[in-house]
Amino acid sequence: MSSIQERQEEIIEEFSMFEDWMQRYEYMIELGKSLPLIAEEHKTEENIIKGCQSRVWVYAEMDDDQVDFTADSDAIITKGIIAILIRVFSGQKPEDIIHANTDFIDEIGLKEHLSPTRANGLVSMIKQMKMYAIAYNSQQNNKA
């Protein structure tokens, strides 16, 4: 089981192998196709992420002491972006997610290659995923 840091480094390395942004987008589209899809019953208004121009849903469940994320979007590139985030955060402990540094997004140059609306959406996605982690973390603490 690799850590958040290790997974981020993997992604940075993968993105550095491409020659241009068309290839990176091609890769993101592929990632989008393999996104762990949210169950239909969780595609609700309250799971929609605000601040995205295309519709994006994210849902999280606790499995033992780890958070598992599922998501969907009606735009495939957006699915690719969220797939990258899920790859980093899914299966991690709530506390690790809360404290995770997300500099890798700047390092792969993703944010600057997104339109401003998509870049805002990306920030909202990370925020939402961290919110889930905070909620599960406090649940765990209450149990303990």
């Binding site: 942004w21 987008y25 589209i29 295309s54 735009a75 495939i76 590139i77 957006t78 997104l114 339109s115």
Partner: protein, 412 residues
């Protein structure tokens, strides 16, 4: 290009007037197909702004000194250019505003003290949000009712429904001359005539029409007509409200301040006459002058040639895009369209197409185009909109089609 269009316009010469067209985006030559959002600016207009600040800059209408008079003459000269272009009877019927949205708000605000709860206003189903929201706000203030003129699947207004909606309570009708999302040219002559039959006044939002065709406000007998300079090769932040003299005199001022008064005491202010009553504060002087220069530039090329050439571009782009499978075009009204191609590819989100086209240097608009009711009508999240101008070329359309095919192959 075919021989016909070469005869119409010297495109290569025209393109040299637009410095921005030679820049690169994402390492690729810019193909600018977002002209319905804003047009590019020719050197002649840019130079006019530079020249204003280098040789004419002074506040207008109030200075005793010569420079102020020079600036005033240039600004009022631009107003006269605008008047002539739209064939208004008087220059004081041309209010220089910050643009179409400002113009519409100015009128809507004025009617807040005129409309009564039993009054009705009609808005078309294909309006830009800027021609919906100010009227909704007006209805909230006055208690008047807003009714919607429906449209057909082809993107044409249902004129029979319009006739049924008109009645003696109808006070105002708002329709765009050309739809920004679909490019449909609406039959405004008929709309105005029918509205006048029940004594209703008509405001036509001409923002999308002005780049492609010349409106004659007297021939149209239109009550209010609005335009933004930045869609017709002019600068942003300036535009026009045309209103018939008696109607503008009837409307109360929109904003208070300097320039718009005749006499001020703490007890009472008498307002200045037209157009100054609606032009409080120091206006966008360089912008107003450049608005005139932009109209001069476009008239120098000629609106008939512009419209004919843009139609060729639209027809070429439409026939090329139809060769791609699973493309759906919105706004298919034949012959009554400006150079706007609004489309989707089946099962592909418009944002994905827009994002990939951008990476290939092609600027299009994606989304709901500030006309959400139209998207709701077609039950789609948005469209990809390529909008052409007289400085675009068939070769650029070829690049766009090639890029679109590539984007499609990546996304499906």
């Amino acid at each position: 290009m075919t021989n016909t269009s070469e005869q119409l316009l010297d495109i290569q010469k025209i393109r040299k007037d637009f410095p921005i067209l030679s820049r690169e985006i994402n390492g690729k030559p810019l193909v600018y197909f977002d002209n319905a959002a804003t047009s590019q600016t020719p050197t002649q207009v840019i130079n006019c702004i530079v020249d204003y600040y280098e040789t004419k800059n002074a506040n207008i209408h109030r200075g005793v000194h010569s420079l102020s008079q020079i600036a005033t003459d240039a600004y009022e000269g631009a107003r006269e250019t605008v008047r002539k272009h739209f064939n208004a009877e008087f220059a004081h019927e041309i209010i220089l505003t910050a643009g179409t949205t400002h113009s519409i708000n100015l009128v809507a605000n004025g009617y807040a003290s005129i409309l009564k709860p039993e009054d009705e206003i009609l808005v078309s189903a294909m309006e830009h949000h800027s021609n919906i929201v100010p009227w909704q706000m007006l209805c909230q203030k006055t208690g008047s009712k807003m009714k919607v003129i429906p449209m057909s699947h082809k993107g044409e207004l249902e004129m029979d429904s319009y006739k049924e909606l008109l009645n003696e309570n109808t006070k105002l009708v708002f329709v765009n001359h050309v739809s920004n999302a679909l490019g449909t040219i609406n039959p405004i002559e008929e709309i105005i005539e029918l509205a006048h039959g029940v004594d209703a006044k008509v405001l036509i939002d001409g923002a999308q029409a002005a780049p492609h065709l010349k409106a004659d406000v007297q021939a149209l007998d239109v009550d209010y007509y609005t335009v933004s300079a930045h869609k017709i090769c002019g600068p942003t932040g300036v535009g026009m409200l045309y209103g018939k003299e008696d109607l503008l005199n009837m409307l109360p001022p929109y904003q208070g301040g300097g320039e718009m008064i005749s006499e001020v005491t703490f007890e009472k202010t008498t307002y200045a006459g037209l157009p100054h009553k609606f032009e409080a504060g120091t206006p966008n002087i360089s912008g107003g002058i450049a608005f005139g220069a932009a109209l001069d530039y476009m008239n120098g090329i000629g609106f008939d040639s512009i419209a004919a050439y843009e139609m060729e571009l639209l027809n070429y782009a439409t026939s090329e895009i139809q060769k791609i499978d699973d493309v759906e075009i919105y706004g298919t009204t034949p012959d009554k369209k400006t150079a706007v191609l609004s489309f989707n590819i089946k099962d592909v989100h418009p944002y994905d197409i827009g994002t990939l086209l951008d990476k290939m240097g092609i600027a299009v608009r994606t989304g709901h185009h500030c006309a959400q009711p139209i998207m709701e009508f077609y039950k789609i999240p948005g469209t990809v909109r390529a909008s052409f101008s007289f400085y675009n070329t068939k070769e650029e359309i070829d690049s766009f089609i090639t890029a679109l095919k590539k984007a499609k192959s990546m996304l499906i």
